[in-house]
């Protein structure tokens, strides 16, 4: 279980104090949890904070009751936190095989790598020796990013907008990947998403807007209001 206690995050934005997260407290204990909310609301900031990439200005982060607020990225990864970036990082020279092996933390046979890649809908034979760079498409990079998390198989897997930058066709198969993960992975999946189909399979939905925790609840509790506000955006309806 992951618990955020009174998390605030401030940055110095051109000598102006900018509050990006404001006193966020939430417990993440369900199996499949989705975070949603408007762009710029602070979702990625929160995910980076859980992974240890940034440190809160105040507040605590607890993993299974242990205070990990002061732990660095590596320590948190070793404690079982995995994080798939919104923008996959390019590497010169490192291949799909290298990255999956590093993620797994042990030597991997071709068959084992094959299995993981097929989980995310990639044919291993074509990909295993490819470099993680711009010669791969956005969708392919996203899948490899997800495969690395699958290879780690830790107790907490965070995905930041896995659907972003993926075409509709790929998106359909990506949803299947997450449905499968939900059914097969033990531990918690925390996924930042705007997609109704992802929100629909979540046990819990967290809404973050303007740096605040706006709502937490089941999809029945959260979704109707969410879709309602989306539909009733006046300027947009007027324009249509």
């Amino acid at each position: 279980m992951l618990e955020l206690r009174n998390i605030s995050y401030e940055v110095d934005d051109n000598h102006d104090n900018k509050e990006i997260l404001k006193d966020v407290s939430v417990k993440i204990e369900d199996h499949f949890v989705a975070i949603t909310g408007p762009n710029g609301g602070g979702k990625s900031t929160l995910a980076k904070m859980i992974a240890g990439i940034i440190k809160p200005t105040s507040g605590q982060i607890l993993l299974d009751g242990e205070d990990i607020t002061e732990f660095d990225i590596t320590e948190r990864a070793k404690k079982g936190i995995s994080f798939a970036f919104q923008q996959p990082v390019h590497f010169k020279g490192l291949t799909v095989k290298d990255m999956i092996t590093i993620a797994a933390g042990k030597d991997m046979t071709v068959t084992e790598i094959c299995n993981i890649l097929s989980e995310v809908g990639l044919c291993a034979r074509e990909y295993i020796d490819r470099e993680i760079n711009s010669s791969l498409s956005g969708g392919e990079l996203k899948r490899i990013e997800i495969a690395m998390i699958a290879a780690r198989g830790t107790k907490m897997s965070i995905f930041d907008e896995p659907e972003a930058g993926i075409d509709l066709w790929s998106f359909n198969s990506l949803i299947k990947v997450f449905e499968k993960m939900r059914d097969e992975i033990n531990g918690t999946i925390l996924i930042i998403s705007h997609q109704e189909r992802i929100l629909n399979i979540a046990d819990k939905i967290i809404v973050i807007a303007d740096g605040r925790l706006e709502k937490v609840g089941t999809k029945e509790e959260v979704l109707p209001a969410l879709l309602d506000t989306a539909e009733s955006c006046k300027t947009l309806t007027d324009k249509l």
Partner: protein, 305 residues
């Protein structure tokens, strides 16, 4: 061969014992062993230090190893090796120099390798440089590679210098006739106060000739690297050079490419990128459980692979 020499041989040629096929092993300035085959002859030069390697036309699937080992501190030598590759031959040549310097004097090997590729000949040339030592003596290597490529010949050159060379000035010169192709991959890593210079110049004289030069390097510590490349497009040709460098600590890298198109149909491209390891690469690997230092090693390993 003693243990030190055996280790050097493994580092520069990946060999545990004497190689298969043709070879010439030079250790501390003299011939340690030589083998020729029906198609490959190796002859000592009479006017200066060095050998001629003569490969008969049509020789295929054969290899030549010519490692040079220096284990006597303070030895300085300049060697001339000429390679004559007959028409239609297809061979692999592995050269390399390993220096073990446990004294206080400067050890130095200057090798001048000239290749003459006849029509349609193909050569894969692998060159590794390695230095070690427990003394304060400097290890210096100044390799020169001069390639003359006739019609439709192809040369692939792979050079690696990863460790222990204090100073190097690598000179490469080439001229290419119609349809000839030259592919060069260079990998360099320097640390401490080392200095490495790449000085590359090629004339693309023939129509449909092409040259691709890819240099990847890492400069650590206080080391300094300079990359000079000149490509002259004198015909309907294609030239591409790429210098990609990672700097760490107080490392310093200079890249000075020069492209000259003397023909309206010459197509020349240069790319250069110098910078430290991207922070996001380190962060990504750390989220996979590596420490910052392990992440750095993985990134550099992959980059120089």
């Amino acid at each position: 061969m003693d243990l030190v020499q055996k280790n050097l041989l493994e580092q520069v040629a990946g060999l545990h014992e004497v190689p298969e096929g043709a070879y010439n092993i030079r250790a501390n300035g003299s011939k340690l062993g030589r083998n020729t085959t029906a198609n490959i002859d190796i002859v000592s030069k009479t006017d200066k230090d060095g050998i001629d390697i003569i490969i008969k036309p049509g020789t295929v699937n054969e290899s030549v190893h010519i490692p040079v080992l220096l284990s006597q501190s303070g030895l300085q030598e300049c060697v001339y090796n000429d390679f004559y590759i007959g028409e239609g031959a297809d061979v692999t040549i592995v050269a390399g120099c390993g220096i073990h310097n446990c004294g206080v004097d400067t050890s130095k090997h200057d090798g001048i390798h000239t290749f003459y590729l006849e029509k349609g000949a193909k050569v894969r040339y692998v060159e590794r440089h390695y230095g070690e030592g427990d003394g304060n003596g400097e290890n210096i290597m100044n390799p020169q590679t001069i390639v003359h490529l006739k019609e439709d010949s192809y040369m692939e050159m792979e050079t690696t210098q990863i460790k222990g060379i204090d100073s190097t000035n690598r000179v490469t010169r080439g001229d290419l006739a119609d349809g000839a192709r030259l592919e060069i991959h260079e990998k360099i890593m320097t640390h401490g106060k080392q200095y490495a210079k790449t000085d590359f110049s090629v004339d693309l004289n023939g129509d449909n000739s092409s040259c691709n030069l890819v240099s990847r390097s890492v400069a650590k510590g206080e080391s300094k690297q300079e990359f000079f490349s000149i490509m002259n497009g004198n015909a309907a040709c294609a030239g591409h050079s790429e210098c990609d460098a990672i700097i760490m600590d107080h490392g310093c890298v200079t890249a000075s490419p020069q492209l000259t198109a003397n023909s309206i149909d010459a197509n020349l491209i240069h790319e250069a990128a110098i910078g430290k390891i991207a922070g996001e690469q380190l962060i990504k690997l750390m989220t996979l459980g590596l420490t910052e230092k392990e992440a750095e090693e993985q990134i550099i390993n992959g980059f120089l692979k």
